[in-house]
Symmetry: C2
Subunit: 232 residues, 2 copies
Amino acid sequence: MLDRQVEAPPSLAMSGVLTQLSGYLAAAALPEDGRLPPERELAELLGVKRTELRRSLAVLEREGQLWRQVGKGTFVGPRPPQLLDIADLAERSNPLQVMRARIGLEPELARLAAINATAMEIATLAELNAACRAAATWREYEAYDARFHHQIAEAAHNPILLALLETLNAVRRAVTWGRPRPSHLRPPADHHSFADHERIVDAIAHREAAAAADGMRRHLQNVEDRLIGRQP
Amino acid sequence: MLDRQVEAPPSLAMSGVLTQLSGYLAAAALPEDGRLPPERELAELLGVKRTELRRSLAVLEREGQLWRQVGKGTFVGPRPPQLLDIADLAERSNPLQVMRARIGLEPELARLAAINATAMEIATLAELNAACRAAATWREYEAYDARFHHQIAEAAHNPILLALLETLNAVRRAVTWGRPRPSHLRPPADHHSFADHERIVDAIAHREAAAAADGMRRHLQNVEDRLIGRQP
DNA sequence: ACTGCAACCATTCGAGAATTGGTTGCGCCA
DNA sequence: TGGCGCAACCAATTCTCGAATGGTTGCAGT
């Protein structure tokens, strides 16, 4: 992170402008978002040239009292966290980190599903697991598997967690996944996920929250182990 | 959910158009996103009037074979999940659900922080906890508390979970929170969070992943209990 | 009274202009 | 000749307006 010094460093002579600017910030009625007038206007308002004003703004920015962005403007206060550029997020992540995120989220979803799921949602879950078993190809299996996990998230009846999982899935689809499975083969009949899913559905159906969460945690841990190659 | 019947119900006489449309869907080369020509074009292509075509489209939409949106177009396949309208999400959520989401996310973050945190990050955590203790008002306390939790998320070194937590926090800021605390008072010296935070920092500093996750879980559980009013 | 049709409506997208913070190069003054 | 300010220019963002598109309504014809 080399801090390219493109503008002249602040000199001592400009402190007058800085205090003038601080005075303006204290006096002026800023809009809700803390945006202050564009540099060209503000310079004229304060009776200074733009270059001079920019030096003071640079100081305040380094102090963290305001932040600026090209095309947007200058704002007082801390820079708001940028949320969710999925493409960028996918680039900076790897499949293992995605699994960690799933392990963080989905057990809690299973727990809530055990508490809140309706009878119809539980029935759908059982059907989806059966469909996983009957899948003729890996691709088809994965489609049903995705719907299985999504159904649990819906059954949790927590819109926030549901939205977070959907975001996570969007990232998941975007990260370059390790080895694609051969598309012509079908999952083996003793694939661990079948039993895993079974346990989870049972726990939810019997309203055993802790068991549902634990089942989901173990299931995802199994998936992660395969992903790492611990049991390929 | 009353299904306002704005258009005429499908009659039996239109099955001809429906099969014609199905034939087109099978034969035509659709673009990657499954979008098919606008209704006006498609009607002319099939030699049908728009009204008639729309009746068939309505049938297929009800069957889930395609979805339509004003200004966008008509697409084959299931409707993609809309992700993350934070304002809308905040409306459909309540503080309790936010807490549930935090309980799902943050213990895992604490666990990963215990594994991945750098010495500097751990030191910052300790400083933030001290700042919480020294806060002169509830408002100041909450600012440091937020930074404390954010710092743990950063120390986890998992960009996905970090982004999810930031999203969650955006929702948290947007939901109408219960009773605001009196802004002139300061948190009592024996506020449970101080000890909670202490335990979490210790666990992370000693690289005890399970203890860190458990500490965070208990901490948030305490917060939720206060929120409900179980121990006000 | 029912049906079909064309005009109209609300929403979305896209191209291009306008805005705004960031940078460069020319010229003025010492 | 060197340092400094100024205006023009650059790139990122937002604004604006028109076209496109699915949804609705009112009118005419039978």
